[in-house]
Amino acid sequence: MKKLLTLIGAVALILTVQLCFGADGSALQGTTSGALEGLKTFYNFTGFANFDPLNLVMIIVGLFFLFLGIKYDFEPLLLVPIGTGIIIGNIPFHPGNSIGIYEDGSVLSYLYFGVKKGIYPPLIFLGIGAMTDFSSLISNPKLMLLGAAAQIGVFGTFLGAAALGFTPQESGAIAIIGGADGPTAIFLSAMLAPHMMGAIAIAAYSYMALVPVIQPPIMRLLIPKEERTIKMKPPRAISKTEKILFPIIGLIFTTFIAPSAIPLLGMLFFGNLLKESGVTERLADTARNSLINIITILLGVTVGASTQAQYFLTTNSLKIFVLGAVSFVIATAGGLLFARLMNLFLKDDNKINPLIGAAGVSAVPDSARVVQNEGLKTDPNNHLLMHAMAPNVAGVIGSAVAAGILLAFLK
């Protein structure tokens, strides 16, 4: 083994010498040696020669994402691939060698194709459908209204972005951040404003990861303590027939009203049917495990890599981040206030805990988890998780519908 390694080493050394000094050693005789030329060329191709301070800024952002994901467990499945992607996308390189994500023929550009053409988001929705249990929604359908109410974040931001001077298409793409749904945001921005997709996707995923930080203060501000203690009736048991019928009826009704949302809603309900039918367990298993994991890796890394400093660090990106934060706040407040409004019309034994309104902003299942924790803080015996899952999954449907509507109007 040692002999073989020595042999390979010797051959490598000879080849290196030939590359640097020329095959016949003529370079040694020249005034400027080939070695220096070679080293210069090599240096020109390194990241140091092509360094731009903006790249360093983005690499620090990527490292921060990794820190949040690994240290604080904030959506690690998203932040770790995206953070790594940001670093990958911002390593300086010599342009024109098919390396960068925006260069034709590069490997990264091929992987990015799935994002650019909106292929990955529906596949993610397939997996989400195969994971989601709609039982709590079917048992208490009126909670779907909370998922609809929270979409005020989307349409409020649409107005805000238009007022800030963005084009209608750009406004639509930015607005969907309020839906708190990463795949939907990527899907819509790929269709309406591809040049802004990096910033929109990063904003959407960042705020989704920060749900446990953003939502609780708004919940405490808008919901009085006595209303936070409301105990809801346990959800009724759902028959298998109802579970099977839900994705079929849901698919037909929702896509008939908003056909532009077919790629997202079609896959969501298809995934759920695979799960609930009980006869396609292998397919459901693949959709909710292997497939969604593969797509999450590809989506995360390529979206991260699409944030090349030269394209990403602009004033527009800053505006997108501000609008995204505002839309998230409006969406949460919309859900909470609508829940309080609903309580005005409900009988005492049927009242809902308004905290669950906050789960209307998609972000499955993080926002439902936040609701549960906030409920427990007020009353340690009040478990709201299952109730909060209803507006939470309704939020997924609602944001996909909102995306479909914006797409239909603006494409």
């Binding site: 609809a148 349409f155 109802e242 009826i249 009704f253 439902a368 449907i397």
Partner: protein, 122 residues
């Protein structure tokens, strides 16, 4: 930012869009809150095949009395429900994603690879 500068088209998209989101979800509420239970109840209450008395050949209709649940059964169901509802949420970890932590296999410091099985030349 001046919201008044927004074009009428933007306002229309906003209002119509928000309305349609509500419409879609209200349709689902209507379907699953009212229509579905109605259909399922109809299906459940569909009269079963009429009993045929083999001895006389006469057909008899099942009376409401036949469908009554006996007191013992009711008590058992009530007890099961009581136990089920009281046992709910007793020990919730609040963790709804199962985190499967496995030690990854890595042969880099594996003892088996660093052992020298020299031949015993005796």
């Amino acid at each position: 930012m001046n919201i008044l500068t927004v074009t009428s088209q933007t306002w229309i998209i906003t209002l119509v869009g928000y309305f349609v989101v509500f419409l879609v979800l209200v349709t689902l509420i209507f379907t699953f809150g009212w229509l579905m239970p109605l259909i399922l109840n109809k299906m459940k209450n569909k009269p079963k095949k009429r009993n045929i008395e083999t001895t006389t050949g006469k057909e008899t209709k099942s009376t409401p009395r036949d469908r009554d649940i006996r007191a013992g059964e009711s008590a058992a169901i009530a007890m099961a429900l009581h136990l089920f509802l009281n046992s709910q949420h007793d020990e919730e970890s609040n963790v709804i994603t199962i985190k499967n932590i496995k030690r990854r296999y890595s042969p880099w410091n594996s003892k088996i690879h660093s052992m020298n099985n020299t031949l015993d030349r005796r």
